[in-house]
């Protein structure tokens, strides 16, 4: 997407709020969850992924990015010893998402492999209050005239308007609520990876697609303002930088430009660590930088965990 998040906002009729919503921030700041002890484990997880995982000297990004993600998810999952309701979650890999909607007489569609999806039995409660939702009515979506909003989008002939999230909803699937989407940018060369801005836009589009498909499954295909907004979270990373996003779908009435808008909270460019040194850097027989992880930021991991725990705590 060319203009990044701004374009995605227009396409999905969304208002942007910087930072994480207060509910998630509350989980981060709450000391009762014991997030301090997990710092040590998170540091081990990062060291394992970046330094120790392979018999070679240094693992490549294609290897360490998924391993880091698995390690962090493992630490999060182990919290279900403390919160038994966390076991009501199911991770689905390689799921395919498809959603269609109309936007000012342009038919838009989101399709493709959306990475890794975490489903849960219970939906996440709406993060924004009713007043905030109504207040978005006044918000005007910014357009970037003269560039059309549909720039950089592929035009295809669509024969079937599909709406599903890769799982069968109607068959009594117990984990029917999409909870969090994870995106791993693990290509080795920098040109194959998405830049942070585009990664955020991609996250927004897919979160919107999932939420829309779920809303249509729950409330039918007619465009209307939702009584129970659907909340889907999204986390994207390239192994070092993390982007956190919480998306709340308030309305499926996307044809017009007015009315209630959807909301998204984005916390972007959080570094988990500064540098991972595999071999100590030595200049003139003096060790300049010792081997190991430097500049570890526990806050990023706390936010990761908070987004994971959100909805059950």
């Amino acid at each position: 997407l060319f203009a990044g998040v701004r374009q995605a906002q227009w396409l999905t009729k969304t208002k942007l709020v910087e930072g994480l919503p207060p509910a998630v921030q509350g989980i981060v700041d709450n000391p009762a969850h014991g997030l301090q002890e997990l710092e040590e484990r998170a540091k081990h997880a990062v060291s394992h992924a970046r330094l120790w995982d392979t018999a070679e000297v240094a693992p490549r990004r294609e290897q360490y990015c998924p391993v880091l993600f698995e390690n962090l998810i493992h630490i999060c999952r182990l919290m279900s010893g403390k919160y038994p309701s966390l076991s009501k979650r199911m991770l689905a890999r390689n799921c395919r998402i498809a959603a269609t909607w109309e936007r000012e007489s342009i038919l838009l569609q989101v399709r493709g492999l959306s990475g890794i999806l975490l489903n849960s039995m219970t939906p996440i409660a709406p993060v924004a209050s009713k007043e905030e939702i109504l207040a978005t009515k006044e918000h005007v979506l910014e357009t970037f005239y003269p560039i059309a909003p549909t720039i950089d989008l592929q035009e295809v002939n669509v024969y079937k308007e599909l709406n599903d999230t890769g799982q069968c909803f109607g068959d009594g699937y117990p984990y029917s609520h999409p909870h969090t989407l994870f995106f791993l940018e693990s290509a080795n060369t920098r040109t194959d990876r998405f830049r942070p801005e585009q990664l955020r836009a991609k996250m927004l589009m897919f979160a919107f697609g999932n939420a829309l498909a779920k809303a249509k499954a729950l409330h039918g295909n007619d465009p209307k303002v939702l009584e129970q907004p659907v909340v889907v979270q999204s986390i994207g990373t390239d192994g070092q930088l993390f982007q956190f996003m919480v998306f709340q779908l308030n309305t499926t009435d996307l044809v017009s430009n007015d009315g209630v808008k959807n909301l998204v909270w984005i916390d972007s460019d959080q570094n988990l660590y500064e540098k991972a040194q595999c071999v100590p850097e030595v200049k003139k027989r003096v060790v300049m930088k010792p081997a190991g992880i430097s500049g570890f930021q526990p806050d990023t991991f706390k936010k990761f965990l908070a987004l994971y725990l959100h909805g059950t705590v």
């Binding site: 120790w52 998924p66 391993v67 999952r77 010893g81 966390l86 199911m90 991770l91 689905a92």
Partner: protein, 451 residues
């Protein structure tokens, strides 16, 4: 002449010196000449043994474990590649002879767990209802009977219903609910059983982590690499410029388990170090008759992560059998008895490599034998049938010199493969077998006695 005269003068001088310092012995304390040992560079058996001794001393004196491993595997020569997942007939007998392992059928006897105190619970006794144990209890409480915990603060007992629902959900998620494309040719195992195993283990481990603090500190690896290199026995080099020399037989295992759990503390020993539970099969043929082939490449010793990792002991490995070794293929070729051999050889070889590599990470090697047994577990499955193995490594000394006076043997307990379920249709799992799930849960709950 002057010298002669000087010496004549010196002789009384010497006696004169010895009179002034009575009783002082003049020769030095040690021998005058350096010890007479074999040369280092000669082409003789004594020189070869001296070189071996010097190499052993170098490895003994290595400062760090990485240095020790580097010296241990420095010399590269052609070696046999041992594959844990192999179609070779009766491979488990051969592998037992290579690794000096005794196979004991069934599971190891469980030590009596401490009685349920205020905080601890006995998962064995508290598993209500245990199928196959006592019929009246099973009749009383068929489904999810969550018996209340004994004292305040104790967690409630686990119910079979919950575990069963977790397992069934994982199975249905992978096989039924998630829309996937058709499986790739001969890649059936990656399509459904692989993801099912990952889901099952991760959800079960997370669920049981409240009960087993070792699991709460564990590290889960997806598709790790496990390597081990060792010598066993001797042979004569057949051809080449080294023809005629007596060489140790070198083996290397390169294994890729589907999933493994590593923990920071070691699992407790099952039987004492010097126990003898059976016989190791002796095979008179060369290993290449198995068939086993030689190649020369890097001698790796690796448990899944480097030495610096705090989680350096192994807990459980999970292996997925590939499509090449599926049961229908063996039945079609009328080799039904080889089905169990596949599971056993996979269990023995993978676990030997893992436990031996863990021992090397702690500094033990074939000249410095282990002082405590290393225990690890493994589950070998093809998606439906599960076989459980528990391995105790008692000795690493398998080379020709060190094996002579070594009475210790490694021990492997193993079960036959049993199905977890019969069939999955229409969103229902039919014929679910609780015993297999129970054994899996017991494996995951295994922990040292202090915890």
């Amino acid at each position: 002449m002057a010298a002669l005269g000087a010496r004549r003068l010196l002789r009384p001088g010497r006696r004169w010196f010895s009179e002034t310092v009575p009783g002082a012995p003049s020769p030095p304390a040690g021998p005058l000449y350096p010890p007479v040992v074999a040369s280092i560079t000669a082409k003789s058996k004594a020189a070869k043994s001296r070189r071996l001794q010097r190499f052993n001393q170098r490895v003994h004196a290595a400062a760090t474990v990485e240095e020790k491993l580097r010296l241990y595997g420095k010399l590269q020569r052609p070696k046999y590649m041992v594959y844990p997942q192999t179609f070779a007939l009766n491979a488990d007998r051969w592998y037992r002879s290579f690794t000096k392992t005794v196979l004991v059928p069934g599971m190891p006897p469980r030590a009596a767990k401490p009685p349920a105190a205020a905080a601890g619970t006995t998962p064995e006794a508290g598993r209500a209802p245990e199928p196959g144990a006592e019929a009246p209890r099973a009749a009383e409480a068929p489904e999810a009977a969550k018996t209340p915990g004994p004292a305040a603060g104790a967690a409630p007992y686990i119910s079979m219903g919950e575990l069963r629902s977790l397992a069934c959900d994982a199975l249905l998620q992978e096989s039924f609910y998630q829309k996937k494309k058709r499986p790739f040719l001969y890649r059936d195992q990656d399509h459904t059983p692989g993801p099912f195993l990952t889901q099952l283990v991760s959800t079960l481990a997370a669920f049981l982590s409240g009960r087993n603090p070792l699991l709460a500190a564990s590290s889960l690896d997806l598709n790790p690499e496990v390597n081990y290199y060792w010598h066993h026995g001797e042979e004569v080099v057949v051809h080449g410029h080294r023809k005629g020399r007596v060489d140790p037989v070198r083996f290397q295992i390169d294994d890729n388990p589907h999933l493994q759990i590593r923990v920071p503390k070691q699992l407790p020993e099952v039987v004492p170090l010097e126990s003898d539970l059976g016989d190791v099969p002796v095979i008179d043929h060369k290993p290449s008759k198995l068939p086993l082939f030689k190649k020369q490449y890097e001698n790796k010793v690796f448990i899944g992560s480097k030495v610096a990792d705090p989680c350096c002991y192994g807990h459980t490995q999970f292996h997925l059998l590939p499509d090449k070794l599926k049961r229908e293929r063996f039945i079609r070729e009328r080799l039904e008895d080889q089905i169990e051999v596949v599971y056993r050889s996979n269990g023995i070889a993978s676990l030997f490599a893992w436990t031996a590599a863990q021992a090397m990470y702690q500094g033990f090697w074939s000249e410095a034998d282990v002082t405590r047994p290393f225990v690890s577990q493994a589950v070998v499955t093809d998606g439906k049938y599960f076989a459980f193995f528990c391995y105790q490594l008692n000795t690493l000394a398998l080379t020709a010199e060190t094996i002579k006076n070594n009475p210790r043997k490694n021990i492997c307990w193993g079960t036959d493969s049993k199905p977890l379920y019969d069939v999955v249709e229409d969103g229902n799992v039919k014929g679910f077998n609780d015993e297999v799930l129970l054994q899996l849960v017991r494996f995951l709950l295994n922990r040292p006695k202090e915890l």
